[in-house]
Amino acid sequence: MGSMLEQYGEIAPRGTVDFLRRLAQRVAGKRMIHVNSTRHGGGVAEILHRLLPLLEEVGVKTCWEVMTGSGFFYRTTKNFHNGLQGSKQRITPDMYEAYLECNRETAKRLLNEPDRMAALGRQAKEYARHRFLITRHLQDNLALIILLSQGAR
C-alpha cells in the first residue's frame, strides 16, 4: 500500500497529488501547530485526524494542542464563527476579554516556560514571537505578546 497521499491519487483529479507535492516543497521543514477545543467530535477534530498525517507526509512538522475554555468563551467563539460567515454579531467587551484570557492561558501553557518569559524581560516579546505560531488571531496574539512582556518587566 502506498503512502496516504498516493492512495488519494487513485481517485483525486488528474495532477492533484503532484500539485500538492510541489506546493509542499515551499513549506517543507516548517512547523505548524493546530489549536482547537477538542480531539474528538466536531468537524475540526475530524479534519485534523486526517489532515495532520498528510501534512507530515509532505514534510510539514505538525503538532496538535487542545485549548479548554469556559462556556462563555465557547459562546464568544461561536459568535466569531457566525460573524465570519456573514451574519451580524454583537461582541461585547466582556466576551472579547473572555476570549483573550483563554488565549493567554493557553499560550502560557503552550510556551511552557512562563517563568522564563518573566526572566527574559524585554526579550519576552521576541521570544513569544518565535515560539507562538500566529494563526488567524493575529491581533489577539499581538495583544498577548504585549501583555506578557508587560508582565515580564
Binding site: 488528474r14 495532477g15 492533484t16 510541489r22 456573514g86
Partner: protein
C-alpha cells in the same frame, strides 16, 4: 465571504456596483476553475442565481452569454453586468426576488500562481505534460492568460505559434479556438491533447 447578500435583483445590482473587483472575478472568471468538469446552466454565478433563485430566466439568459475573458479588465465586465441588469429592471413592474431559494452571497478570492517546475521543449512533451497536469494549469494558461495578454492569445497558442516556440502557427490557430468553445476546463484539455495527437501523427512534427 463579504457578508453581503442579495435577495432580489435590485439589491444584487447595488452590491455588484460596490464590491471589490476580485469578487466580480470570483463570480465570473473563476466559475470555470470551480467547475472544471462541466458547467451548470450558465457559466457564471450571477446568471445562475437570477435564473434559478429569482426565477428570472430572461435575465439569466442575458447574463449567461457573457464571456468574462472577452473584456479587457474586470471593471469593464462589471459595467456590462450592471448595464444589463439595470436595463432589464427598467422594463419590469416588480423586482424579481428570491422567495424559496437561497440569497446570493458575495465572495471574494485571491488567485495565487504556483510555478510547477514543468518545462517542455517539444510537442510530444507538451502533450504528455498537458494530459497529466492539474487542471488549474489549463485555466491559468488558456483562460487567465487572455486577461493578462489580451483577447487574442493564450499562453499555449503563443508558444506553439511563435518562431521562438514550436513554430506551428496552424496548430496554434486551432488551439486558440478551443478557449472560445464554451467548454469546461477538462473539455479544453481533452480537445487540445487531441489536436496535438493529430499533429504528432504528421511526419516531421517537432
Amino acid at each position: 465571504m463579504l457578508g453581503k447578500r442579495a435577495l432580489d435583483e435590485s439589491r444584487l445590482l447595488e452590491i455588484i456596483e460596490e464590491v471589490p473587483s476580485d469578487s466580480i472575478y470570483y463570480h465570473t472568471h473563476s466559475y470555470y476553475l470551480r467547475h472544471p468538469y462541466s458547467q451548470g446552466l450558465f457559466p457564471n454565478d450571477f446568471a445562475s442565481w437570477v435564473a434559478l433563485h429569482a426565477q428570472d430566466r430572461v435575465l439569466g439568459e442575458r447574463l449567461g452569454i457573457l464571456d468574462p475573458f472577452e473584456f479587457e479588465n474586470i471593471e469593464q465586465l462589471r459595467d456590462e453586468i450592471m448595464t444589463i441588469i439595470a436595463d432589464h429592471l427598467s422594463h419590469l413592474g416588480t423586482i424579481p426576488r428570491c422567495t424559496t431559494g437561497e440569497p446570493f452571497e458575495f465572495v471574494r478570492s485571491h488567485v495565487i500562481e504556483v510555478d510547477l517546475d514543468l518545462e517542455v521543449w517539444r510537442l510530444r512533451e507538451f502533450r504528455k505534460a498537458l494530459a497529466r497536469v492539474e487542471v488549474g494549469a489549463v485555466y491559468n494558461h488558456v483562460c487567465e492568460a487572455r486577461l493578462r495578454k489580451g483577447r487574442l492569445s493564450d499562453d499555449f497558442t503563443g508558444w506553439l505559434s511563435a518562431k521562438e516556440g514550436l513554430g506551428l502557427p496552424d496548430l496554434g490557430e486551432q488551439v486558440v479556438k478551443v478557449g472560445r468553445l464554451g467548454l469546461s476546463l477538462e473539455g479544453m484539455r481533452e480537445r487540445i491533447v487531441r489536436l496535438c495527437d493529430r499533429f504528432l501523427g504528421t511526419p516531421g512534427s517537432p
